[in-house]
């Protein structure tokens, strides 16, 4: 039983970060109907930013989020303005090629600049943990989960209560109608991509202290974020949150009961089952 609870808690903590990655992807998809295949690479840039802020300027990885968020927002907004905007009305396969290309450029530029060596962030609390009722909880994971929860809450508030948030949701619901209602759709797209990139970058910053960092780390997360959003329902923020936690738990429990080599099998079996019985995802509405 203790193992089960241990696996469950580890899974939920990791799942929190997965949720953040998934939410970023789902916002971008919701507003622009573009699947951002560079999502993992944006996350990787967040990791490198955190690593160098820590090793060069000695800023704690969790505090550095304050710098990473606006930085990654601007980066995302720039990507949208310069590249994505041009492909908004293009064929879906061209949009996919565009984002894949952007991702390749990012990972290879980073490899050129920092080599493909694995980097590990070591902080004071890297290997510390708190034990509650015989269950040990990794401190860095717990902190990152707390930050994730705060950011997600702020995001919900932003989407539900602010004018900009509502405008973004309107754009996601119906681009044409939103435009007719006087919403600046282009601006909303830029904000949405910026938000998505900021969330991916933040997720990168939050896992940097517990993962290792290398230029190709992004591809692992691109796939993961894709599974999370499809599982939760494309375009649904609540769905992505749920999907992230679900995938985290499935990985963790699968690792314990089936062996670490099998945890991906557990994840993808779950994924296939959801797609079979609810093709639009857990909280997705089919658009017919």
């Amino acid at each position: 039983m203790a193992i089960f609870v241990q696996a469950l808690i580890s899974g939920i903590l990791i799942g929190g970060v997965y949720a953040l990655i998934g939410i970023g992807l789902t916002i971008i998809f919701g507003v622009m109907r573009i699947i951002n295949f560079a999502h993992g690479d944006i996350l990787m840039i967040g990791m490198y930013a955190t690593y160098y802020l820590f090793t060069l300027l000695h800023i704690d990885p969790f505090l550095s989020v304050v710098i990473t968020i606006p930085l990654m927002f601007l980066f995302g907004a720039m990507l949208q303005k310069v590249f994505i905007n041009r492909a908004l009305d293009a064929l879906p396969q061209n949009q996919i090629l565009l984002t894949i290309g952007l991702g390749l450029i990012m990972s290879n530029s980073v490899m050129l600049a920092f080599t493909s060596d694995y980097k590990i962030l070591t902080t004071r609390y890297s290997s510390s943990s708190v034990t509650i009722l015989g269950i040990s909880v990794s401190s860095p994971l717990a902190i990152s989960f707390a930050i994730t929860a705060a950011i997600t809450a702020a995001l919900y508030w932003f989407f539900l209560k602010t004018d900009t948030g509502q405008a973004i949701r309107a754009t996601a619901q119906d681009r044409e109608a939103a435009r007719l209602m006087g919403i600046n759709v282009r601006k909303m797209s830029t904000i949405a991509f910026g938000l998505g990139a900021a969330l991916a970058g933040t997720a990168g910053a939050l896992i940097a202290p517990t993962y290792y960092i290398f230029p190709q780390v992004g591809s692992i997360f691109t796939l993961k974020s894709f599974v999370i959003t499809v599982l939760g329902g494309m375009g649904s923020v609540v769905g992505a949150t749920l999907g992230g936690v679900l995938i985290g738990v499935a990985e963790s429990i699968g690792g314990v009961y089936f062996g670490s080599g099998w945890k991906d099998v557990v994840v993808f079996t779950l994924f296939l089952l959801v797609l079979l019985f609810k093709p639009a995802g857990l909280l997705g509405k089919s658009r017919t």
Partner: protein, 385 residues
């Protein structure tokens, strides 16, 4: 014009003096970038020192370096380039077992002698390959020396094995399992993980539940650090953590004192071992590169020295170099070296393994007693003690 003629004359005066020193062209394949680059750096440094020493002895090494980025397919194209375009006499490298396994077959195909410094998967020298030589001990020996020590120090009954699911990892795990059976240990858990998914908490939680006396791990640097970090998080306390060289033998790992203290690691070489020139090499290396050498550096040094000296003696002929490697005998910083055929091995040096333990952030040799200045700490005292 006149000045040019004088210059030519001057050059021609110097040319004969070069002709006295033998010149050999040697290839060097290594993980210069990629996940294994932190270990690869040690090999590069070892080779750099070897080339300098060879120059002092009058052997000019024309070294052609190739980066395999840790991928077998890249190492293969590097080998083909060295063998066909650069026409090298012999090749030293590569670092990792997965690359070395790929190159061993190419050496046979292109008939270029390959001297593997430190890649330790057993099978590499067990295929009756005539052109592949190996200086280091094999993963079999990594597991044997650690389990010999553990069974001498206490009476462990159970063991868990965690390994990376690549050539080096699976072959290390396999030999650990076989040798454990011989020593009367029962293996209660076997976990092979895929590199690049660095969340081992669920794996470790499963192992903790089985409460093994020994935890045996085969991993490279980044995973070694994360495995120990998460073991500490989950408060996994076996009687001993046994690391099969690689990541556990690096300075980077030792520096993470919180998690690396009292961890055992098998090693091919240690600075305080009583082999000729070992201590001097350690001092020179530290002065030159500003850090401690690992056994990867010394095996690379010795491999390059042996390969270049042999190639020079053979007058640059690959065929003769191979014969001389087969017949030769050396004694240096890695102890006695001789490439022999035994127990199904071909061209394998019977190298004695050592065990180190990290004590206060430094690797100390603790076993076997005849080479070891320090005493091992056993059982593992627990985290933060």
């Amino acid at each position: 014009m006149k000045r040019f003629v004088v210059l030519l004359g001057a050059i021609s005066l110097f040319v004969p003096s070069f002709a006295h020193g033998a010149k050999v062209k040697i290839g060097f394949v290594n993980s210069i970038t990629g996940p294994e680059a932190p270990i690869g750096e040690n090999l590069t440094n070892g080779v750099t020192l070897a080339v300098e020493d060879l120059k002092k002895k009058g052997i000019e090494v024309d070294l052609v370096k190739e980066d395999d980025t840790g991928k077998p397919e890249t190492s293969m194209s590097a080998f083909e380039k060295l063998a066909t375009r650069d026409n090298v006499t012999g090749i030293v490298g590569p670092y990792s077992s997965k690359c070395a396994a790929a190159l061993a077959k190419l050496a046979e195909k292109y008939k270029v002698p390959l001297l593997i410094p430190v890649a330790s998967k057993d099978d590499i020298t067990r295929q009756n390959l005539k052109w592949t030589f190996r200086l280091s001990a094999t993963t079999n020996d990594y597991a044997m020396v650690l389990l010999d020590m553990a069974t001498k120090l206490g009476k462990p009954k159970t063991m868990a094995i965690i390994n990376e699911n690549t050539d080096f990892g699976t072959s290390g795990a396999k030999s650990a399992k076989e040798y454990a059976a011989k020593k009367g240990l029962s293996v209660v858990a076997e976990e092979a993980y895929a590199p690049g998914s660095p969340d081992y908490r669920s794996t470790l939680a499963g192992i903790k539940a089985k409460n093994p006396d020994l935890v045996f791990m085969v991993s490279y640097v980044a995973d070694a650090i994360l495995l120990m970090r998460q073991s500490r998080e989950l408060n996994l306390v076996p009687r001993a953590f046994l690391g099969a060289g690689a990541g556990f033998a690096t300075v980077q790992f030792a520096k993470e004192k919180d998690i690396s203290n009292d961890v055992f690691s098998s090693a091919q070489w240690t600075p305080d071992v009583s082999w000729p020139g070992a201590k001097e090499f350690n001092e020179r290396y530290k002065a030159r590169f500003g850090k401690e050498p690992t056994y990867h550096a010394t095996t690379a040094y010795e491999s390059m020295r042996i390969m270049a000296e042999t190639a020079a003696k053979a007058g640059g002929s690959a065929n003769r170099t191979r014969d001389l490697l087969k017949r030769g005998k050396w004694n240096g910083i890695m102890g006695e070296v001789k490439f022999a055929d035994y127990d199904g091995y071909t061209n394998q040096n019977k190298h004695p393994m050592l065990v180190q333990q990290i004590q206060n952030g430094v690797h100390e040799t603790v076993y076997p007693p005849q080479y070891a200045p320090k005493k091992p700490v056993y059982p593992f005292p627990g985290w933060g003690k």
